[in-house]
């Protein structure tokens, strides 16, 4: 069993020495508190019949705040802490006292709603008073609800379990049908609010603004009950979500089963280059061991592509040990057809699948049975996600093990150095921006459809000047007309058709064109289509490779053919800044006297996939580089950027005593150098200065280190004659550029931790001489969502702290001149730039 396996692993030095940190949670016993006095006797009996005889202190405290204080209440707690009881009790108690009250329960997923529905039903069935009520008294209402049951639910439901999507698409726009429900609305439950982050969360906050307007229209003042996993400043986030003052009740993590957690850092293979063993290799070993011990495991990967690659590796490795490799090891991610997903879920519940490789699509809700081990490949981007993913194993009171396997990503290595960051729960803030103009505009249009918007009315905390500009825009677009006191909807179509989950509403259909027939394979969201399924891309699906033949972005269709397992591709994306406007900025002077500027504002940029690299899957070496041209996509969003002053650049240049060791430049260097001088007529090709008694320098346009052999590096096309002064300038620029590039790399990898977002949510642009920023060296971090959702502003606010963190992180890294874990891999882009990045940071960060 698990104990035996853990013991075996812990006695194996090749494993133990890689465990950076361990945490062990014994099952904790909790002291019970008696049911509150106001509890309806029947409800007390029903709870006891369900095996609940007492409450935990935090439950009791929360119930007091909800029932007696009538406060909007937030419950923050870990897994298996009985937080659902905290809203079940007030809802049922109120229903027993006053038969027509209603409650709205919102869950981020259908599966969670289903789980909760079952639990509530168990209690309701034990309440004799409610037996005469219609069967749809409590109902789940979502996309899966059969249409012939919907009108019965609309008429009778008093406890409605649904999700924000359904509220947005079906309930709010038809609120008059629900007038009975809204007129009696007493409670609104928002479960697992930490999921409502980023774009999704910004949409949800606006849906709640609309919901509150509708409730007010029916003259009800519902009380909010929110639950959250562990996040930083949860009440601040919750208050941002519901825009009401609230009371927070916190429960420190408790478990009902024994849980162990490891942070596992695969060993370094090459100290100078900082190359670390790929975590896939360790994950494979752990998986095969656990299957041999008849244990079930789940492996979380950060991307859809990683899921597929690991699945292929695992199936290859396990062929020997498993008769039915394909069925024993499954994968799960977005983009699979629903039938395939249901099949995987079923095989997990039945125990037929021994291991599943998944993205965070399996993080929440869906019942996947009892698992023993969770492996997480690479920090998933947030503490909350990490604990959610760890929580997928050991759910039925069985012991469990969670292993976080670190990659050479800077963020992962940061955690290797600071394991307490994970254990001691000082997690990130959840960031949303309900006032993103594009999101707000879409919801204003919906709100207008639902109820006229009066001139003086408020829409949550949206700034009035923004609101009136947007309403004015709706009038201009013909979607609204002005009345004497209010704005009214004037379009003919319901404006609710957009999705609140993804950035782009549309997805691209993947069609498999095999020799005999065509069949649907899956989908890719429109926003990712350019870089995931550009023509020539290798796309993995359920462990099988496909190659994209055509991508038709107008018709939203991509045609794929069976591909080769040896080949993986990576797109080459070109970004161009069209304009940059700062709305806030601050000048700083560092202790060493150099000034730099940190700014925040909006940016307009064009991005285009211009080609792609083809790698060998086994060796990860580049095989070829192909050009393609997809139409550029424009993005206007928020950004924050660091601008270095001219004086700072000069000082870096001066400090840059670039020592070229001629001996390292290969045997033909002297010959080629003289040929270049001769070709350039012994004149500096930058300022035109002729040689006077001393030979000019010869410079490699593309740095020497980027070439595999000296002959290619020293070819005449790559050489240019420069006078010593110009050479210093140019080399200085190279140094600045490589310093900036190195810093940019670290920035993009560490920032998500502070902005509490996914890596894909941020982009970086570095330019030593940008014409869009007065030719001053700039590092710019921009958001990927149009209009931004507050990530850039968050980074702007903590910029100096961030710079300090980056400096510490790079300093601590043991590598020689940059590695994947700090300033970027030397092997891939040829220049580590670690020294330059540090020199730069030392000038500005204290």
């Amino acid at each position: 069993m698990l104990d035996t396996l853990i013991e075996a692993w812990l006695s194996d030095p090749s494993i133990v020495e890689n465990i950076v940190s361990r945490k062990h949670d014994p099952p904790s016993s909790r002291n019970g508190v008696a049911f509150p006095e106001w509890l309806h006797p029947s409800l007390g009996n029903a709870l006891r019949e369900n095996g609940i005889t007492a409450l935990y202190p935090h439950q009791s405290e929360a119930l007091h705040a909800i029932q007696l204080g009538r406060h909007h209440t937030l419950i923050v707690s870990g897994i298996a802490s009985g937080k659902s009881l905290i809203y079940q009790i007030p809802i049922l108690n109120t229903l027993l006292e006053s038969r027509d009250t209603s409650a709205l329960l919102l869950f981020p997923t259908k599966a969670l709603a289903y789980d909760q529905g079952t639990k509530l039903q168990n209690i309701i069935s034990k309440l004799p008073e409610l037996r005469s009520m219609p069967s749809s008294l409590m109902a789940q209402f979502d996309g899966d609800t059969p249409s012939n049951q919907r009108s019965k639910i609309i008429q009778n439901a008093q406890i409605l379990l649904t999700n924000p999507d359904m509220l947005h698409h079906r309930i709010l726009p038809r609120h008059s049908q629900w007038n009975r429900f809204f007129s009696n609305l007493k409670y609104i439950v928002l479960d697992e609010i930490h999921v409502y982050r980023g774009v999704f969360g910004s949409h949800v906050a606006n849906i709640l603004r609309r919901l509150k307007r509708i409730a007010a229209h029916y003259r009800s003042r519902p009380q909010f009950i929110l639950t959250s996993g562990t996040i930083s400043a949860p009440e601040e986030f919750a208050a941002q979500l519901i825009e009401e003052p609230l009371v927070k009740i916190e429960q420190k993590a408790t478990t009902n089963s024994e849980r162990s957690y490891w942070i596992y850092n695969p060993p370094i293979l090459n100290t100078d280059l900082g190359i670390r063993r790929h975590p896939f290799i360790d994950a494979q070993r752990f998986t095969l061991d656990s299957i041999a011990h008849h244990l079930h495991s789940i492996i979380f990967c950060r991307s859809r592509k990683e899921v597929e690659l690991l699945l292929i590796d695992l199936r290859e490795k396990s062929v020997v040990s498993l008769s039915d490799g394909e069925q024993s090891i499954r994968s799960y991610r977005s983009g699979y057809l629903p039938s395939l997903r249901r099949d995987v879920e079923q095989s997990l519940r039945s125990g037929n699948a021994k291991c599943v490789v998944a993205t965070n699509a399996l993080e929440l809700g869906i019942d996947i049975g009892a698992l023993d081990i969770t492996m997480i490949i690479g920090f998933p981007g947030s503490i909350a996600s990490t604990w959610q993913q760890f929580g997928r194993s050991g759910r039925t009171g069985r012991a469990s093990l969670g292993i976080l396997l670190l990659s050479d990503d800077p963020l992962d290595q940061y955690l290797a150095q600071h394991p307490s960051y994970l254990w001691e729960s000082t997690p990130e803030k959840v960031i949303i921006d309900p006032n993103n103009p594009l999101i707000l505009l879409a919801h204003l249009r919906c709100a207008l459809y639902e109820l006229p918007i009066s001139e003086e009315s408020v829409f949550g905390t949206a700034p009035t000047d923004l609101l009136s500009a947007l309403l004015e825009s709706l009038v201009l677009q013909g979607d609204a007309i002005r009345g004497t006191k209010a704005f009214y909807f004037s379009d003919t179509k319901m404006p609710h058709s957009f999705s609140i989950r993804s950035i782009s509403e549309n997805s691209v259909q993947l069609i498999l064109d095999s020799s005999h027939s065509t069949s649907p394979l899956g989908t890719v969201d429109f926003a990712s289509a350019d870089w995931l399924i550009h023509p020539g891309a290798t796309y993995f699906h359920d462990g099988h490779p496909y190659e994209v033949e055509t991508l038709d972005l107008n018709r939203h269709v991509a045609i794929l053919k069976p591909g080769s397992l040896d080949r993986i591709t990576q797109p080459l994306i070109d970004s161009q800044v069209q304009s940059l406007v700062s709305t806030e900025s601050e000048h700083f002077r560092s202790p060493s006297g150099y000034s730099y500027q940190i700014a925040y504002g909006h940016i307009e940029l064009w991005r285009q996939v211009q080609g792609y690299l083809v790698f060998d899957r086994q060796t990860r070496l580049v095989r070829e580089r192909n050009s393609i041209s997809l139409p550029p996509r424009a993005l206007t969003t928020k950004a924050f950027w660091l601008t270095l002053s001219q004086a700072l650049v000069e000082s870096l240049r001066r400090a840059g005593t670039w020592s070229n060791d001629p001996n390292q430049y290969g045997s033909n260097w002297q010959v080629q150098k003289n040929l270049a001088r001769q070709r350039d007529h012994y004149r500096c090709q930058s300022c035109g200065l002729p040689e006077k008694g001393q030979a000019h320098h010869v410079h490699h346009k593309i740095p020497f280190r980027l070439f595999a052999n000296s002959e290619e590096a020293n070819c005449l096309e790559n050489l240019i004659t420069l006078c010593p002064a110009c050479h210093r300038k140019v080399e200085g620029m190279v140094r600045v550029q490589s310093g900036l590039a190195a810093l940019g790399y670290t920035f993009t990898h560490i920032s998500p931790l502070f902005a509490r977002c996914d890596r894909q949510d941020l982009g970086v642009i570095i330019d030593p001489q940008p014409r869009w920023n007065e030719n001053l060296p700039t590092i710019l971090i921009h958001e990927q969502f149009p209009g931004g959702i507050g990530l850039a502003f968050r980074l702007y606010q903590i910029a100096n702290q961030l710079l300090q963190t980056l400096k510490d992180h790079i300093q601590r890294c043991p590598c020689a001149d940059g590695c994947p874990s700090c300033t970027g891999p030397v092997a891939t882009n040829g220049m580590g730039g670690k020294k330059e990045a540090l020199a730069l940071l030392e000038k500005i960060a204290a």
Binding site: L172, P173, R174, H175, S176, Q177, N179, P437, L438, L441, L448, Y449, E450, L451, P452, D465, L466, A469, L470, E472, S473, V475, L476, Q477, G478, I481, R482, G483, T484, K485, A486, Y488, F489, S490, D491, T492, K493, M494, S579, V581, T583, H602, E604, T636, P786, G787
Partner: protein
Amino acid sequence: MDEIHRYLKSLGIPLAQPAPQSNLPRISQPATLPNSRMINHPFGSVCVIVENIPLTDPARSFEIPVEIIQWLGLKKPNPRFSVEDFLFIDVETSGEYGGAGVLCFLVGVGRISNRAVQLSQYLLLHPEDELAQLLELEKILLSAKGFMTYNGKSFDLPLLQARFQFHHIPSPLHEGLHIDLLQLTRKIWKNHSPNRALRTMEATVLGIQRAVDDIPGWMIPSIYRDYLLTQDTSFLTPILYHNKMDVLSLAYLYLHIADLFSHLIEPTPENAPTYFRLANFYQSIGETKRAILAYEACQPYLLDEDQSLHTLETLGHLYKKEKSYRNAVDQWQKAAQLGSLSAHLELAKYYERIEKDPTTAETWIRAALNVLDHAKLNHFERSKWQKELQYRLERLGRNQGSVLK
């Protein structure tokens, strides 16, 4: 403010350059709409257009036919209703689907009285006047005992009801009876024309011709939007015409149906199929005697062989139910000549049970078996009939003993 505008524009959000241009003055009196007047309320004003339209052919009876009341499922004692107690209602909406943002911006209400249709159209010149519109409507709706619509069961009435609910007004529609003429039409004119759209009924049954430039109903929401955005009332004229014609058609359609029920329309080869459906309708509400009359009236004119055969069979069945065997046998014999297996079977049963004449009964069974040999039936039906007829034959044999051997 300029900064916000610049930023919103770069996000692709359309904004007017200097000041919003679309601040049009509100219309207070629609001069271009004839017969219109404004009714003012503290919370808005509604435009009401009133017209008295003489009936081309005055109503011959004001009483709502009992068949319709029966069909509505009202139990005896049957209350009597005059058509004057009913309102003809047709609603035009501002959007495609039912939702809180869809207004019933025009509600046409007609009442038949004194050889004319009194039409009142309640028009919203601005969405902010909706409460005034509904309060005026409430008055007239509460004055009626019932409503007639065309597809109002799933369209006009729920939409109107939702508007009352939206303004927290108890729906005045709950009080009255509702006759959805589409449902009656479906019963009476089934298979009559390609569809049961009101326009089709006008053209094929009522002989009403609309102006050539009458707009199709699906265009109405976007035309109303054009009016809202421009405040140009000339956009409304074709909508008002369309709505008026809808209400008028409703009234004429009702009168036509009422006349059918009163047999004021003579059966002819052209309307024989209608009588046939009418007979079906009587049968479905349990009015056997009327059903027989209607079937008898249309039978000679039915050109469709299937309908004709069905009529004879059904008449046989209905006469049998009335214990009028002679008439039943007449019908069955006619049907049998046309090759009806069920008529053969009914005749055999009749001779066996009523006439106690097994020999004739057997003759009919054997004739039926002969018909079956040549009938165009699928395997399933054939074997069903085969079984049934064989069973009858054997039963006769058993009862007759050696006679049949």
